[in-house]
Each structure stands twice: as structure tokens, then as C-alpha cells.
């Protein structure tokens, strides 16, 4: 049995938003001139000569930021139901949520001290 309401609007929205890029790309595929040359396939770097491969090796800093983001994203997902049910679950739940946050703040402090949040 399906009880969620309002998702028909989401469906219409998804259909329309899928149609827009399809129409745009399809129309430009019909009307654009078809020139095949070596320059067509090269990387566009704002007009200067492209240097090297576009699939370069990333800095490990990116991984660190993504890692910290993953952990605190999960924290958000766990705290959201608490916020929704705040009126019903009472003071004890407030203390429990504070413990939850405090444990993760330890992780944040650790990441900070170890330099996982610094760019250079």
C-alpha cells in the first residue's frame, strides 16, 4: 500500500527536468555543423594549449575532506529524526543526542589536530 503523498509532483518534476536537457542536446545535435578534426576532441582549457592528461592524479587532501564530510553527513542523517521527534522524546533524548554529538566532536578535534582540515 502506498501512503506517501505529494510524490506525483516529484514524478512530473523529474519527467520535465529529464526532458529539458534531452531537448537542448537533441536540437543542438540536429543543427550544429558536423566538422571532425583533431582539435574537436582536445580538452578545452579556456583557449590555452591543453597540457597533459585530463585524468590527473588528485591530491590526497581531497580524500581527507571527503572523508570528514562522509562522517558528518551520517551524523546529520542520525540527528534529523531526533529533531523531528523532539517534542515526543523528551529530555533524556536531548542528553543522549548531546552524548552522540560530543563523541563525534572528539573525532572532529582529532581531524583538526592531525591537519586533515588544512589545505596546504
Amino acid at each position: 500500500m502506498f501512503v506517501l503523498s505529494g510524490y506525483d509532483y516529484l514524478l512530473v518534476f523529474l519527467l520535465v527536468s529529464a526532458l529539458v536537457p534531452l531537448i537542448a542536446l537533441g536540437l543542438s545535435a540536429v543543427f550544429r555543423p558536423k566538422i571532425v578534426s583533431a582539435f574537436r576532441k582536445s580538452t578545452y582549457e579556456s583557449g590555452i594549449e591543453p597540457r597533459g592528461d585530463s585524468w590527473i592524479q588528485f591530491n590526497i587532501r581531497y580524500y581527507m575532506f571527503a572523508l570528514v564530510f562522509v562522517i558528518f553527513d551520517i551524523e546529520t542523517v542520525f540527528l534529523y529524526p531526533w529533531a523531528v521527534a523532539f517534542d515526543k522524546v523528551g529530555l533524556l533524548a536531548f542528553i543522549e543526542a548531546l552524548i552522540f554529538i560530543a563523541i563525534l566532536v572528539i573525532g572532529l578535534v582529532y581531524a583538526w589536530r592531525k591537519g586533515a582540515l588544512e589545505w596546504t
Binding site: I56, Q57, L67, V70, F78, I103, G107, G115
Partner: protein, 204 residues
Amino acid sequence: MNLGEGVRLVSFGILALIVLGGALGVVLAPSMVHAAFLLGLVFVGMSGLYLLLNADFVAAAQILIYVGAVNVLLLFAIMLVNRRIPDAAAGKRGLRNTIAGFVCLFVFGSLVNGVVRVPWPISTETPIANSTLRIGEQFFSYYLLPFEAVSILLLLALVGAIILARREFVPDRTESGDQPLVLPERPRAEMDETPKLPETTGRR
């Protein structure tokens, strides 16, 4: 207003096609980057299936965590280790993959056989509409200990992953030896100031 029965059936079919096709792409695509983007497509399709099962909060969590965080993490890891593996024993692997495929088909057949035969105790109660509120209540009544255990788990994952991934690539030693140790991932401007240092950023 609500989605009709036919609309739900059609969207289930489309979502199942997206999920299974994307999963096949994840497993079979030759390029790891394409596999990672197809994995994101699979996650989005799964969240659509979750919506069809009245689980709106879980669908949002799926988009937030999997598409927003885990997939990005996977892409960064792929970019960090981006290197083509030379396909050495291709002939032997073909046979192995065929055997593995047949075994998986057999497992799938037996699973579907079990699914069809078992009479599931389908409930006739109306599903509750406000699932997020119910989840919040359950977190702080029956599932309080797992809720706190998750925070410990996340703390350990954060600390462990930082310890494992933090050490930089070992910088190449220069000839003179009295050069200060320079991290390879320095900005390009600093690299240009000390041209004697070996170029280590372009290691692939």
C-alpha cells in the same frame, strides 16, 4: 493526491531497469570512472525504489549519504590511484569469469525460487505516513544503544581512516641531501621556485 497503481508499476519497471543495468555497468565497465558514475546512478534508482516502499526518510538518507558522500569519496580514491592494470592472464580470467557468472545465475535462480515459494505474512495494516517521526521515536526508545554505538563507530572510522590515509607519498630524495623534505603536493608556484626538486606531482 497519490500515485496510481499503474504509474507505480511503470516507475518500478523503469527503476528496476536503471538499477540492474547500472549495476551490470559497475561490474563490467572497463573504465573505473564510468563505473563510479554508474554506481551513483544505481544509488539514485535505489532511492526511487525506497520511495515506492513508503520509506521517504531512508530514500533521502540514501541520496545524502551514498550519492552525496560515498560516491564522491570513491571518485576521489579512483583519482588518487588512477592507473591502468595491465591485463596479464586474460585467457584464464575468461574461463574463471564464465564459471563465476554461472554460479551467480544459479544463486539468483535459487533465490527467486525461494522468494516465489514462501508465503510471506503480508500485513493488512495501513502503513504509517510519517515515518521520520516514528524513526525518531524508535531511535530513543528501543534502539538507543545502537544509536550511541553508531557514534563510536563513526569516531573510530574517522580516526582510523585518517591514520591510514594521512601519510603523504614519500618524497623523492635529492642528490645533495641537505634539501628540506618537500611534500610532493605543493602548489605549482612553489614548485617553480625550486626547480632542482624532482617533479613528483605528475606521478601516475
